[in-house]
């Protein structure tokens, strides 16, 4: 990330704005204190005691992903690429979320595993488990570090706080409520954060649209300045960096829509953990599907502000035209627009929304890191068979340790202009092969334990090779300037994982069938895969299949309107 100090982005925040900010963070900390009373076991702390209703876990499910990088990065993409950015939300999330709820959740929730790596341990044994638990824990502290660094930069930029001080204050707030209240506090705050972000961005979008003359005015203004691709979702050749339109669409559908998206949404424990904390199988299955509805609609208040900035903010116009933007990058699109459009009062809400999203992002990373560390690394490999209070204490210590490491890793993010590239690279390293292994493992009972970990390693290496070949700062032999490199890397990882897993399985012994009940489709009785439809799970509107179908129809309709 380039240094932004020259550009003056200071927001004109007055005491009123600070009061609104302080009110929010008092509530956040209050939730931590109150949630502490409900924590008496490690399962309470790390999985909310599996007690939460579906609307809470569903909103937390998308909120955990609605971190700062997501917000600033997607608004930046909106300013740079326009409407094609919706692919990250629609094809790049909705089908995978529905698939997770309908197809995979019965195995995750039904097998009573406490984490995604634990599923791999039960299905494939130690090898795959270690590979995944270690890479996940590493990725989470790295991403938490990225989130913290971005937060500190923003605080510095907008309010003039020194960067080290911002990092410490933000980390302390997150640390306080996650250490006290565990996952419940993190999830409750994620839901609160969701509403605050909407409360910040919806008025911003309304003011912006009002100013440019509504949606039609925006379209006219973008057309007038010669926008080509920015007003159509397809074929998004600028976004992918793949100049052939057909290959670009394939890259989006297969690379983003299938491999990256399914890899992220269905196997990333920071997401799946929210569903595992639901109170019943039905609620767990509905979690990602309920989350999919706001996920389908939220690009309107993230991407449209980016597009508005492309016509009302001179610096962003300069960036679009390839001129000197005066020290601004696309990542500052959202703060610039907030400064331009919102008066004191709403300004405080907007700052609160941005900071809330940063902190909730860090909290999601930390609260999934501590679970994997406690259950999958410490309990499995370091100290087995201790009383539960011991693991509760380890969970709290892991939260503190993870936050401290995150502070240290905050500066790894500094070498990259567009933060999304960095995060996508990480995802394609770890997540893309994971989905291949899961889907093979859940539906092919013959797949062997050795194939589990060798496939994962081969796929991850494949993604790393593509990344090194495509990065201009490294080898730069593949010409993929946009975000196509991560799409291709993820696809290569996926295919390699499948091929290697199948070949290795042919030469190794299968896992004994009696160990695979509840984990593999053909060896799980139908009764164990179905959810109850009584009590709190009754009613047609609580049917996961119906809700899932509904959100797919909604997304298709959106594509038809904005395609």
């Amino acid at each position: 990330m380039p240094v932004l100090a020259q550009a003056d982005l200071r927001l004109d925040a007055n005491p009123l704005d600070y009061i609104l900010l302080v009110i929010y963070f008092s509530v956040v900390l209050g939730i931590g204190v109150m949630a502490r009373r409900s924590v008496s076991t490690s399962l309470d702390f790390l999985l909310s005691g599996r007690s939460l209703p579906a609307w809470v876990t569903g909103l937390a499910f998308i909120s955990a992903n609605l971190g700062a990088i997501e917000l600033l990065g997607m608004a930046a993409n909106g300013a740079q690429y326009g409407l094609p950015t919706v692919h990250y939300y629609w094809i790049g999330a909705i089908p995978a979320m529905v698939f997770l709820g309908l197809v995979m959740m019965p195995f995750y929730y039904g097998s009573k595993v406490r984490s995604v790596p634990e599923f791999l341990r039960r299905r494939f044994g130690t090898g795959a488990h270690l590979v995944n638990a270690l890479s996940f824990a590493l990725a989470q502290v790295l991403i938490a570090g990225v989130n913290l660094y971005a937060l500190a930069l923003l605080l510095n930029l907008l309010l003039g706080w020194p960067i080290p001080l911002s990092i410490v204050i933000a980390a302390l707030v997150v640390l306080t409520y996650t250490t006290l209240g565990g996952l419940s506090a993190a999830i409750y705050n994620e839901v609160l954060q969701f509403f605050v972000i909407v409360a910040a961005l919806l008025p911003l979008t309304i003011v912006g649209l009002y100013k440019v003359g509504g949606w039609n005015g925006l379209v006219d203004k973008l057309t007038a300045k010669g926008a080509g691709e920015e007003l159509n979702a397809w074929p998004a050749t600028e976004l992918t960096g793949i100049s052939n339109p057909v290959l670009s669409v394939i890259g989006i559908v297969f690379g983003l829509g299938f491999v990256l998206s399914f890899g992220y949404w269905t196997t990333n424990f920071a997401e799946v953990q929210r569903a595992l904390s639901a109170k019943s199988m039905s609620a767990a299955r509905r979690t990602p599907i309920i989350g999919a509805f706001p996920k389908a609609l939220i690009p309107f208040i993230i991407i449209i502000p980016g597009m508005i900035a492309a016509v009302v903010i001179p610096q962003v116009q300069a960036l679009n035209a390839g001129q000197d933007p005066g020290g601004i990058t696309y990542n500052e699109t959202l703060p610039l627009l907030i400064r331009e459009l919102l008066p004191n009062g709403m300004l405080g809400i907007a700052i609160t929304g941005l900071l809330a999203s940063f902190m909730a992002g860090v909290a999601a990373n930390v609260s999934s890191f501590n679970t994997v560390f406690t259950y999958d690394l410490w309990q499995d490999y370091v100290k087995k068979d201790r009383p539960d209070e011991y693991y509760l204490r380890i969970g709290r210590l892991a939260t503190i340790g993870g936050t401290i490491i995150a502070i240290g890793t905050a500066f790894i993010a500094s070498g990259y202009g567009n933060i999304m590239d960095y995060i996508q690279a990480l995802f394609s390293f770890f997540n893309a092969p994971l989905f291949a292994t899961f889907i093979l493992g859940m539906f092919w009972k013959r797949m062997s334990a050795a194939a589990g970990w060798i496939g994962l390693v081969a796929g991850t290496l494949g993604a790393v090779v593509i990344f090194v070949m495509a990065d201009p700062k490294l080898l730069g032999v593949l010409d993929l300037p946009g975000q196509g490199a991560s799409f291709v890397g993820a696809s290569v990882a996926f295919v390699l994982d499948i091929v290697v897993s199948v070949v290795v399985t042919m030469f190794t012994k299968p896992v004994p069938e009696k160990q695979l009940g509840g984990l593999v489709y053909s060896l799980t009785p139908k009764a164990d895969r179905t959810h109850s439809t009584t009590g709190d799970d009754a009613g047609w509107y609580r049917s996961p299949a119906l809700l899932g179908g509904g959100v797919l129809v909604l997304t298709t309709a959106l594509y038809i309107i904005f395609g």
């Binding site: 009123l16 009061i19 609104l20 009110i23 929010y24 509530v27 939730i31 109150m34 949630a35 009373r37 409900s38 008496s40 076991t41 490690s42 399962l43 309470d44 005691g49 809470v56 409750y188 839901v191 609160l192 509403f195 605050v196 409360a199 919806l202 008025p203 309304i206 003011v207 009002y210 100013k211 331009e340 459009l341 919102l342 008066p343 004191n344 009062g345 709403m346 809400i349 309990q379 539960d388 693991y391």
Partner: protein, 84 residues
């Protein structure tokens, strides 16, 4: 432990949302009505966004408040399952 199930009281997330947005809504509405300058209004071509956002937040607060009181959350006091 004593009774079988008690109301979640203050720690019902819906109530927390209602209170937060209630406060925000009142503050923004007042600011929008009485303390928004012409310069502020000019930023948005005359749209009083503080006022409208404040009113919107009051509606959200009312929704969650009504939901909380019409369907109170009951927390079961069962003994948690022993784990691991």
């Amino acid at each position: 432990m004593a009774e079988k199930g008690h109301k979640a009281g203050l720690f019902d997330l819906r109530l927390i949302i209602a209170v937060l947005f209630g406060i925000y809504g009142v503050v923004l509405t007042i600011v929008g009505l009485g303390f928004t300058t012409d310069a502020d209004l000019a930023k948005a071509d005359g749209l009083n966004i503080n006022l409208w956002s404040g009113l919107g937040m009051l509606v959200v607060a009312a929704f969650f408040g009504v939901w909380t009181f019409t369907k109170p959350l009951v927390v079961p006091d069962e003994v948690p399952e022993a784990e691991g």
